[in-house]
């Protein structure tokens, strides 16, 4: 039996097989079903999955943020402005939105250098709140409460939009998963999470890794926000606001399982799907998610993904015996 880390090679290739299977379904199903609504749900899920993963990568170095909507909304508004007001090409607008957000993420690392724990989380929340207020106030530029409309989408075909979003999500997932779990950074992240001071005393330049995660988190949140704006063709201050946007991403990640990358992506799909099935009870949606996330936090702290993957591992091993 060849060992890869501490799991057998057979198990690893089995879970890769399951993953491949799921990916194939996700590619084929929308084309087969030809249902605009379900495809829309899947597209939205893909976008939020990118957003959730971007929050999660921050958690890899213990940088809990309660204001991640700041990056999402910033990119969304930038893209909206460039696209709708200045009539720039959708892809250029998206790229610009992502680039600016990435730079801002990088720049924030300086004032946020010494912040840890609650201070970090709430300073981020403060950013999101200030941004929301600012956007609402400068209504001649940003459209105030109403927001910006008339954004030109990439393409008008709903299926094509799905494949764009799904493709970007898949690429992001693979990239972030690789960096977080399968690269030389993975062990360092784990060490920093475990004991930052011990890591420093062994020569790990901790602030560089925190910076890496912050930039990645900002960039991918920006990516999600830009695509969101382009797909939905409208933005309003909600995309920057703590509630609902940060609330959603925190809930999705909690449900899916923090610092697993795949977990939050899964959580996004779960939440958005529940979203559509509870259409009648629209008003109690966020309440339900909040309560669910609380229950999971108290009783199932690993999140859905961890328990799911443990269950799958267990079933596979049981079958081999």
């Amino acid at each position: 039996m060849v060992y890869v880390g501490s799991r057998s090679l057979i198990t690893v290739s089995k879970s890769r097989f399951i993953a491949l299977f799921i990916i194939i379904i996700m590619i084929v199903a929308p084309a087969a079903l030809q249902d605009p609504y379900i495809t829309h749900i899947l597209t939205l899920s893909s976008i939020y999955a990118i957003f959730a993963m971007s929050w999660d990568i921050l958690m890899y170095t213990n940088q809990l943020s309660l204001g991640h909507s700041f990056f999402f909304g910033l990119a969304a508004y930038l893209t909206a402005l460039l696209n709708s007001t200045y009539k720039m090409h959708p892809i250029v607008s998206v790229l610009a939105g992502v680039a600016v957000t990435a730079v801002i993420g990088f720049g924030l690392s300086i004032p946020f250098f010494k912040l840890r724990g609650a201070y970090y989380a709430l300073a981020m929340a403060g950013l999101a709140e200030i941004a929301t207020l600012t956007v609402k106030a400068y209504s001649d530029v940003t459209g105030g409460e109403e927001g910006i409309r008339g954004i030109t989408p990439f393409i008008t075909n709903y299926l094509a939009n799905y494949y764009i979003a799904f493709g970007v999500m898949l690429a992001s997932l693979i990239f972030l998963y690789y960096i977080a779990e399968r690269s030389r950074f993975s062990l360092i992240f784990k060490a920093i999470r475990d004991d930052e001071i011990a890591a420093k005393s062994l020569g790990i330049v901790v602030h560089r890794y925190r910076l890496l995660c912050l930039v990645l988190g900002a960039t991918f949140a920006g990516l999600a926000g830009s695509i969101y704006a382009t797909y939905l063709t409208i933005v309003n201050p909600n995309v920057l606001a703590i509630v609902p946007t940060t609330a959603l991403v925190v809930t999705m990640s909690m449900v899916g399982g923090v610092h697993t990358i795949v977990g939050p992506a899964l959580g996004a799909y779960i939440i958005i799907f529940l979203n559509s099935f509870f259409r009648i009870a629209e008003i109690i949606r966020l309440l339900a998610y909040g309560l669910t996330a609380i229950l999971i936090l108290l009783f199932l702290p690993g999140g859905v993904f961890r328990y799911l993957s443990r269950a799958i591992d267990y079933l596979i091993k049981a079958k081999k015996v």
């Binding site: 030389r184 784990k190 060490a191 011990a198 890591a199 005393s201 062994l202 020569g203 330049v205």
Partner: protein, 243 residues
């Protein structure tokens, strides 16, 4: 050129002078002990050399380079590693992973050594081989101390600073750790060791520095130090030796 040169360093906290004008050198390949009663400033001295604090006055040189104001992680890159009196393992990582982290932080990354081989060597030397896949939080204290040393060695450091490595260990564990330290010393590592368990330390080392109230009051061989009047006075009434 001495490996480490400490020149006239002083440090005060608030109004309290913790280190007063301390100077000494450590030659390459030496094993130097630092002893002294509680509150003498031994740990502060370590913290000053390893970059946790910076001295108010004076300089510290390593291989001729001025390291006085460097940060801890820079010093590891230069080749100085320290272990902690109260161990700080990565509790949720395995013994193996704990050591691997040190590879990422240390000097060796520049030389492109074969890490797998080095890992095996270190596990072998420190006697941690049977525990390699155990989570650090499940390890008994004696082995946690070995892990501390293993990690410091894994950074590829030339100068190893051990802060009370024998604290809290049983007699047999102390003997095991002593032989590990001797092995490392024989391999060419330079060691600077703070210890309260004076008897064991005096067996290991040929040169001892004695600190008292922030000053270096005596420097010499274990025999000289044991007989010195000032040292005996400083320790008078102190429970400093393990029975």
């Amino acid at each position: 050129m001495p490996l480490l040169e400490v020149k006239n360093i002083s440090k005060s906290f608030g109004g309290l002078a913790a280190i007063k004008n301390v100077s000494f050198n450590v030659e390459k390949g030496e094993l130097v002990g630092i002893i002294g009663p509680n509150g003498a400033g031994k740990s502060t001295l370590f913290n000053l050399i390893s970059g946790i604090y910076h001295p108010d006055t004076g300089r510290i040189l390593f291989k001729g380079e001025d390291i006085t104001r460097m940060e801890p992680y820079e010093l590891v890159r230069k080749g100085i590693a320290r272990s902690w009196q109260i161990v700080r393992p990565f509790r949720n990582l395995t013994v193996e992973e704990n050591i691997k982290v040190a590879f990422y932080g240390g000097v060796l990354k520049e030389s492109g050594l074969d890490y797998n081989q080095r890992l095996e060597e270190i596990l072998q030397t420190t006697g941690l081989l049977p525990y390699r896949e155990q989570l650090a939080k499940n390890l008994p204290q004696g082995y946690l101390k070995r892990l501390e040393v293993a990690r410091a060695v894994a950074t590829g450091a030339e100068l190893l600073m051990l802060d009370e490595p024998f604290a809290g260990l049983r007699v047999d564990e102390i003997k095991g750790l002593m032989s590990l330290i001797t092995t490392l010393h024989n391999r060419g590592l330079t060691l600077l060791i703070i210890e309260h368990v004076v008897r064991s330390l005096l067996e290991l080392t040929k040169r001892v520095l004695v600190m008292h109230e922030g000053r270096l009051i005596k420097e010499g061989t274990p025999e000289e130090v044991k007989r010195d009047k000032m040292v005996i006075e400083a320790y008078f009434g102190e429970e400093s030796e393990v029975a």
